[in-house]
Symmetry: C2
Subunit: 380 residues, 2 copies
């Protein structure tokens, strides 16, 4: 099997499981219990949060652990509320949450990029939150978060200068970029950041919301008062520890891994483009995730190709794998202006830990073969 | 180490980990992806939900998976809203959530029991939800859920007979009882039921909300549309499978295990009461969880005893281990009318898988020794 869908799910790193293992059946204590073995568990949990904080240039006590990116995004929006500015190529988790509030949708350009200027134009006097993902999960475009942060910072200054205390914050879902990009909250200039362990070879349904000390969060789930009262429920100790290990490994290998993946991706891309000059590449040429290749074969039925490739042992995506995308054309591809007959012939090929030179070359050959067969069938 | 705090946390059963293991690094696929290996994962996930549904007399598609009991309770309350009736000895997860709505608090009696009559008296014409836990997590009292369900059913009939379509539902958090009691949604007569894997030797932060087909849930966390659109986020496949295995094992061994625990508990209880005739037992004498012993030693400082016992290798609780309970007197003990100097001398001893005759007898001896030492110190 050759797996080219790392953006949809990643296998848990064996080292992550090793780190989690003691907390399943041995150090299983409730971290809120008062006796020493439970305090040891609580410390391990808090250390994991410190490691997570450190990995993004923040602190452990600025983090609220959640059951994944979706809950984290919902918590950020629910906490800040007000008028929200977001982009038309955002993940459903952001778009559906934004719909619960007054919001303005900023349009990405054909490369899938959201400009700081367009965000600036969309900000109203009552805008409280801007939310733009660090990297798009379908076409891989990396957004100019620092420039957008600058826009938000200036708006904040303007408001203060006229005595307007309405806060405005920048949230970014960095789930998709964290293994390949430098995700540092200070350098990015964000006020809130979402991460997901499942995208970085950690456990599923483990995520976090980081927020700067000046941001006040409001609990969406109440109860026992865990996570500083922001998110109740007995802590997922093993999950946090697995996430910390996964993020630590990702940070450690980030430069090497993103170089490696970019090279593999470029070789895959050039082979496919060479074989099919009519192919359309989407996403920004330069500011794009290293392992990400979004390519469309006009007039082709990408679903047929996906299943043909599956029968040859190659797993690819036609779009995002979330439940909302079943049987519909990707809102991202429509947003960046792909014609329907181009969008419908799209493959998303995302490389990662399971990719190497050998299986990437093999995949290229098999993809070319199956697409050629499909074009031949259509012209027959 | 002798662990007598099974109500706070349970070690994951090794069989549960074995069941989960394949889904960490091998069958790691996103259940929403279209290729066969992902469909296999989706089927395994849905089968796990079927098993969970079956175990409580419901169906898999009536279940929404959550990140534990707290989220499940929040989702139930958020979905139904309106005026809520609940009890004064409920867990913080219920009480704090109820505070977000108009609500009436029903008083438990001295045995920690909430009568169906008191629930009946509290129901108003705009009451939409009654929420009473199946068993109390501190004193172990099992509530007359069937009788309460009958009250709710009659209220529904009365409303219908006068053309009033305001729905009224019964929710029960059965997290604490599920390993020892027959938890069958039809026999209990509930409309919504909360369960927690972490209380039944399954993984932490895995829970479920079961709801009858006539109940309409409202998503609190939106996004990719997983869990029939009720609770978005990529599914915790390993978690659901672990929970299913844990509940399966619990159902299989329930009768044997609850008999075994009741015998151990009774022997522990009689030894302690024999040694300290002034001890006060809380919780219903008959309708009480098998592994549950709540005992108070008047005028004693239970925290001192807890730490003394810890140094002898015996782990006990003074109350519930949730973060909200830090440094405060248990609201449950106050509610059932324990005088402060009795409440403050309370130990909650909860038996479970790690308990056996040998270590329960040893624990009894050590507890007696340490309490005697403490009483001696006080009278010196």
């Amino acid at each position: 099997m050759i797996y080219l869908d790392h953006a949809a799910a990643t296998p848990m790193d064996p080292k992550v499981l090793v780190a989690m293992q003691p907390y399943f059946s041995d150090d299983f204590f409730n971290p809120s219990a008062p006796y020493a073995p439970a305090i040891v568990v609580r410390r391990a949990y808090e250390t994991a949060k410190d490691v997570l904080g450190h990995a993004i240039g923040g602190k452990g006590d600025e983090i609220v652990m959640t059951a994944g990116a979706t809950e984290s995004i919902n918590l950020a929006f629910y906490s800040i509320g007000g008028h929200i500015v977001t982009g038309n190529i955002e993940h459903h988790a952001v778009l559906e949450t934004a719909k619960q509030f007054e919001h303005t949708i900023v349009l990405a350009d054909v490369r899938g990029m959201v400009s700081a200027d367009s965000v600036k134009a969309a900000i109203r006097s009552d805008t409280r939150l801007v939310s733009i993902a660090l990297a798009n999960n379908e076409v891989g475009t990396i957004q100019p978060i620092r420039d957008i942060a600058e826009v938000v910072r200036k708006e904040r200054e303007v408001r203060l200068s006229r005595g307007d205390l309405t806060p405005i914050y920048l949230h970014s879902d960095a789930s998709q970029g964290v293994g390949q990009l430098d995700v540092n909250v200070a350098r990015l200039g964000v006020d809130l950041l979402t991460l997901n362990a499942a995208k970085v070879y950690g456990p599923k349904q483990v995520g976090l919301l980081w927020s700067a000390p000046h941001v006040e969060l409001k609990p969406q789930v109440v109860g026992g008062g865990q996570e500083r009262g922001i998110r109740s429920g007995t802590e997922n100790v093993a999950g946090a520890i697995g996430f910390a290990k996964a993020l630590e490994l990702a940070s450690e290998h980030r430069r090497y891994e993103s170089d490696r993946l970019a090279k593999l991706r470029d070789s895959l891309e050039s082979k496919l483009v060479e074989a099919f000059p009519q192919a359309v590449l989407s996403g920004h040429r330069k500011h794009r995730l290293a392992g990400h290749l979004h390519i469309s074969f006009p007039k082709l039925d990408a679903e047929r190709v996906l299943f043909a490739l599956e029968s040859r042992g190659v797993l690819v995506a036609t779009g995002s794998a979330c439940a909302a995308n079943k049987g519909t054309r990707s809102h991202v591809l429509t947003a960046i202006g792909l014609a329907p007959d181009v969008a419908d012939g799209s493959l998303r090929l995302t490389l990662g830990h399971l990719s190497n030179e050998d299986n990437t070359l093999k995949a290229a050959a098999l993809i070319i073969e199956e697409i050629r067969r499909e074009y031949d069938r259509m012209s027959a």
